[in-house]
């Protein structure tokens, strides 16, 4: 397609997304004077799971946080280039970052429920956003979407902190779903979970992606291979800035990567 610079997707028609959720063009990002991302150009497709993989410090979490303007909460950061969400530059001066974060939800590495009841954890964001519909129905629907309702239906007034780690993470997903996002960003969502809880989250991701778009950062190569449709491999350059090395259909990236650097990383021979 030729729009992704030196990225190794040129002969991959599957990567020519006509109406991507996000289209990043020549994005550079700095923490103060330290450049964390260099010349990132990438499109994320609708209703697909895209995995960002790469070694620590390659900028994948930074890239993820550029997509909901979460990085702006850190003093001294600077972004250049364009981050278009459904064609609109989310860094334009007239864009409200809070609205961006409502449309683009985030699930973090460590489950972080509010110290409130399960019900309130889900209802809180919707209430803050001015939701005026049937709150009981919204809470139930969100918990069902997050595959948690059956486990907590009789305990909605108990503290969210009383749940197991895996349940807490699904509660956080329910909380995100309650405000009606069309993208969920996941930053190593299973790294603090046991294998069973991890598989539940992965199953959930495959269900959720029918209705929304998911972009997931993971260090777990097998997880990226299991849950994602597309995989982007990032690596820090000599200047320390993270760059895209290869982007393609997950099946292809994990069986037949085009770049030696990708092959070395995913086969554990990196460095």
């Amino acid at each position: 397609m030729g729009t992704l610079g030196e990225l190794n997707v040129s002969d991959d028609p599957a990567m020519d997304f006509k109406e991507p959720v996000f289209a990043l063009t020549n994005v550079d990002f700095w923490y103060g004077t330290k450049q964390a991302l260099g010349d990132i150009t990438i499109k994320f497709p609708i209703n697909r799971v895209t995995a960002l993989i790469g070694p620590s410090g390659c900028g994948k979490s930074t890239l993820l946080r550029c997509l909901d303007r979460m990085n702006e909460l850190i003093p001294g950061v600077r972004l250049e280039g364009e981050v278009a969400y459904h064609g609109q530059d989310i860094y334009a001066s007239d864009i409200d970052p809070v609205e961006v974060r409502r449309r683009v939800g985030m699930v973090f590495q460590k489950p972080n429920p509010f110290p409130k009841t399960i019900y309130e954890n889900v209802a809180f964001g919707a209430r803050v956003n001015g939701y005026s519909g049937d709150m009981d129905e919204l809470v139930e629907r969100s918990l069902k979407q997050a595959a948690l309702f059956d486990e907590v239906r009789d305990d909605l007034q108990k503290s969210g902190l009383a749940l197991s780690g895996g349940q807490q993470q699904r509660l956080c997903i329910a909380r995100t779903l309650a405000v009606g996002p069309d993208v969920i960003l996941m930053d190593e969502p299973c790294s603090a979970l046991d294998p069973i809880a991890t598989l539940k989250i992965e199953d959930l991701i495959r269900v959720l992606v029918k209705d929304l778009t998911i972009i997931i950062v993971t260090h777990n190569m097998q997880q990226a291979a299991r849950v994602s449709d597309f995989t982007a491999f990032m690596l820090a350059g000599e200047d320390g800035a993270g760059r895209l090395v290869e982007y393609g259909p997950t099946q292809r990236v994990f069986t037949n990567p085009k770049e030696k650097r990708t092959e070395d990383y995913i086969t554990g021979r990196f460095g």
């Binding site: 069986t255 092959e263 086969t267 554990g268 021979r269 990196f270």
Partner: protein
């Protein structure tokens, strides 16, 4: 970061596969010798040795599955293991074809042959050459050579046609030769199938190197 132990295990399964291939090569050669020289003991040896070929195939298969389960191989590592898994099956079946030829050798009466075995020997020679070349191509990851080898299957097919025509003519001319001629058609068929399986190995070499799966030089049989 390195994966020394895993690298050694990957190396081992390829070495074991090549060692299996050499056992099969010996079986192929001996089976045709047993037939053309009427050597009953050699034929029995081939049949006996096939048990070891089968066992080795299962051993390699088991190691490959263990590596998949424990090492979660990806990319080139995965393709290597997948290729070895396929190739050992082809090798084991080639061993079965050699065993089939040895069994025919035991069925042939102790009488002068009904035809010259020159073409059958030629088929065996080309097939063996293809097989040995395919192993070299595997070691060298040489897809160009793999494609050339698979093209040689046409020569084996042509000889197969020739041997079949000759045998059919013999059967038509003299009914007393039908049984022996039929046995020899099995021999030719086994050799033709071995060459087809070498083509399968060549397909796996291409997959191993560039990740594309596709059929090469489809045999007319």
């Amino acid at each position: 970061m390195t994966r020394t132990h895993f690298d050694q295990q990957l190396e081992n399964i390829q070495e074991e596969m090549l060692s299996l291939a050499l056992q099969v090569e010996v079986a192929m050669e001996r089976s045709v010798d047993a037939l053309s020289e009427g050597d009953e003991a050699l034929a029995k040896q081939v049949i006996e040795d096939d048990v070891q070929i089968n066992e080795k195939r299962y051993e390699i298969e088991e190691t490959c599955l263990e590596l998949i389960a424990t090492q979660q191989p990806l990319a080139g590592d995965l393709r290597t293991i997948a290729s070895v898994l396929h190739i050992v099956v082809d090798l084991e079946r080639m061993g079965d074809h050699a065993e089939g030829i040895a069994r025919v050798a035991l069925m042939m009466p102790d009488e002068p042959p009904i035809m010259s075995y020159a073409d059958i020997r030629r088929m065996a020679e080309i097939t063996k050459g293809m097989m040995l070349a395919s192993l070299e191509a595997f070691k060298d990851r040489d897809t160009k050579r793999a494609r050339e080898i698979s093209d040689e299957d046409d020569r084996v097919d042509d000889l197969y046609d020739k041997v079949l025509s000759e045998l059919l003519a013999l059967m038509t001319e003299d009914k007393s030769k039908i049984e022996r001629a039929t046995h020899l058609t099995w021999v030719a068929h086994n050799l033709e199938r071995i060459a087809d399986r070498v083509t399968n190995i060549c397909e796996r070499i291409v997959y191993l190197v560039d990740g594309t799966i596709g059929e090469m030089n489809v045999s007319k049989y």
